[in-house]
């Protein structure tokens, strides 16, 4: 099914939770809502699923307005961040619950529940109650209840956020396959940019109740249309600095400047906001377009295969992220190199310039 939001807004009390939003989700797509906590991801999911009514605007499914339709009548599935199962039922009855409500024949219910249980490796736990399961198993049970229904739209609200690292990876790999080929719209909310990249599909960036950018995940990662989108879709946070372009040169500070090349060459003279991902700030000089900056190391993080350094340059803190272990020492002054071919330039009002 096609799910559309048309000029949807949501106000609660005096507060605007969702600013006017228009969005069109195609059948069979894996859609990701990416944004920080409180950005409005859950509000959007509640509006899309019919749990909450938008203040203005319409929800349109396959061309039909379903704005006032209750969630019971929409044939949708929803998985929450917290493992929500019916505590008094065993796993089999939990998964079977939506099918029983729909009034399916008994053998059909058994067949579909067992099929879903096999996919999510819940076969040996069918007779157990949710409180006898581990967190991962509880969430798999909730996911099984979502897929068994074969609904037209599946909403996953940070389903992996409360799982431990190992389980999260495992389930994340399974997720896109779970819903692939069913022709349903999948909406997946997450606050982790890395997770969005790993899942692929299409991503809508959500920031303070607005969708700032929507498109194929890899594409919007490579080409943010505005500063907010670039900031939302970067982990660790993207480096931001004020630069001035004049006489074919980009000037970052009194001592750091470089020749404007490629798209930047076409920029009009004036002030811009430069943004560069931490991955393109390296402690080693690489290529002709590398520009040297230096700063005092404040925080270092070493994660085995990756080194992250937070360093102070002038008034601002920069972050560098590189593969390999680098022996940073807190307090030392160190040179870093920014790859100017990967710089984004934004106009003062936040639109992408080059």
């Amino acid at each position: 099914m096609t799910l559309e939001l048309r000029n949807v807004t949501k106000r609660v009390g005096g507060e605007t939770h969702i600013h006017e939003t228009t969005l069109r989700l195609e059948p069979g797509e894996f859609n990701i809502l990416l944004g920080p906590t409180n950005a409005g991801k859950t509000s959007l999911i509640k509006i899309m699923s019919g749990l909450e009514r938008p203040t203005t605007g319409q929800i349109v499914v396959d061309g039909t307005d379903v704005t006032g339709l209750s969630p019971q009548k929409r044939n949708i599935a929803l998985v929450h961040q917290f493992f929500v199962n019916y505590p008094h039922m065993n796993v089999f009855d939990n998964i079977a619950s939506p099918l029983r409500v729909a009034g399916l024949p008994r053998d059909e219910i058994v067949r579909r529940v067992e099929e879903a249980a096999d996919i999510l490796q819940l076969r040996p736990m069918l007779k157990r109650r949710p409180d006898e399961l581990s967190g991962g198993q509880q969430q798999r049970c909730a996911l099984a209840r979502a897929i068994v229904k074969e609904s037209k739209a599946v909403f996953l609200d940070e389903p992996l956020a409360n799982l431990d690292y190992k389980l999260r990876e495992e389930l994340r790999d399974q997720l896109p396959d779970l819903f692939a080929g069913r022709g349903s719209v999948v909406v997946y909310a997450t606050s982790e940019p890395t997770e969005a990249l790993l899942l692929g599909g299409r991503t809508a960036l959500v920031h303070e109740g607005r969708i700032t950018q929507f498109g194929p995940t890899a594409e919007i990662y490579r080409a943010p249309t505005d500063l907010t989108s670039a900031q939302v879709f970067s982990d660790p946070p993207i480096n931001i600095a004020q630069v001035v372009k004049a006489k074919g040169e980009i000037r970052l500070s009194d001592t750091v400047a470089w020749q404007a090349t490629r798209a930047a060459a076409g920029l009009a003279d004036g002030s811009y906001t430069l943004a560069i991902r931490p991955g393109h700030v390296s402690p080693e000089k690489g290529g002709a377009n590398a520009v040297r900056i230096s700063g005092e190391i404040r925080i270092t993080e070493l994660s085995g295969s990756e080194s992250v350094a937070h360093f102070r340059m002038g008034e601002s803190i920069w972050i560098s992220q590189t593969s390999g272990a680098h022996p940073y020492r807190v307090g030392e002054i160190r040179d870093f190199f920014i790859d100017t071919t990967h710089c984004f330039y934004f106009t003062p009002d936040g639109k992408l310039a080059a």
Binding site: I76, A77, L78, F82, H88, S97, V101
Partner: protein, 265 residues
């Protein structure tokens, strides 16, 4: 024995002493009770209990009490469950004030309401029925039930409701098949407290009944005045009034702690 266990042991001894005395008395003859001090019955007798179980004026007292107490528990739960759900899930104008106001109903002394209830029930023909006492006791039991149940319901995440709606459950189906089983511990604890408060309340129960629905406690006081001091008989009756409470406590013993932990009991 360690020093610090002395105080609790003394405390429990003091608590149990009157109960022990009651039980011991119930197995003595009235003459022995009045005759002097004895820790144990000199002559064990079951005569007191035999009288209670064979004399209709006695055992009907128990039947009447259990009847209106059960009726009250059912009425209070049926009324309080939707109310508690509303307080727990919705916010509406004045909800917090209303919730507190419910609680203040418990502060009103029953004596204040005895006369208006008596007059009203006499007028509408409810006087001396189970329903009369059961309804009168809802005055303090419904607020109590709403208060306890709201605590348990607020402990259930809203996401459970949403999941059920998305799964296709209508509200009644969700409430009866998903929500109530989820909070059954809370319902058990609530039922226990409703039962106990209605069981021990004497003033309203006595005022609103005469013969047909006379509670056991009223029977006890009347016997004492008409036939002199039949202390053994009264003690046996007293022991029997403790038993229902003890039985109910046994069934909800695992949940009571949870109720206390919620700070609502």
């Amino acid at each position: 024995m360690r020093k610090r266990s002395i105080v609790p042991i003394l405390y429990i001894l003091f608590l149990l002493l009157p109960i022990y005395w009651l039980v011991a008395m119930s197995f003595k003859t009235t003459n022995e009770i009045l005759g002097g001090f004895s820790l144990f019955p000199q002559v064990w007798t079951l005569e007191n209990y035999r009288v209670i179980f064979t004399d209709p004026t006695w055992y009907w007292g128990y039947i009447n009490s259990i009847a209106y107490v059960s009726l009250n528990t059912v009425i209070s739960l049926v009324a309080a469950l939707p109310a508690a759900y509303a307080f727990s899930r919705f916010s509406f104008l004045g909800d917090k004030h209303l919730f507190f106001w419910l609680l203040t109903n418990r502060m009103a002394p029953a004596a204040v309401f005895a006369l208006p209830f008596f007059q009203l029930y006499s007028a509408v023909g409810l006087f001396d029925t189970y329903l009369a006492v059961a309804l009168a006791h809802t005055l303090f039991n419904i607020p109590l039930a709403v208060w306890i149940l709201e605590g348990f319901m607020s402990g259930v995440p809203r996401e459970l409701d949403e999941t059920a709606y998305v799964d296709g459950h209508s509200f009644p189906s969700f409430f009866l098949r998903i929500f109530l089983p989820t909070i059954k511990a809370g319902i058990g604890v609530t039922a226990f407290f409703l039962f106990m408060f209605s069981w021990v309340e004497l003033l309203l129960a006595k005022t609103l009944t005469a013969v047909e629905a006379k509670p056991i406690a009223a029977t006890m006081t009347k016997t004492a005045s008409s036939a002199g001091y039949e202390l053994g008989l009264l003690a046996a009756a007293g022991v029997l009034t403790i038993i229902p409470g003890a039985v109910v406590i046994y069934f909800v013993r695992n949940y009571i702690a949870k109720g206390f932990a919620l700070g609502r009991v």
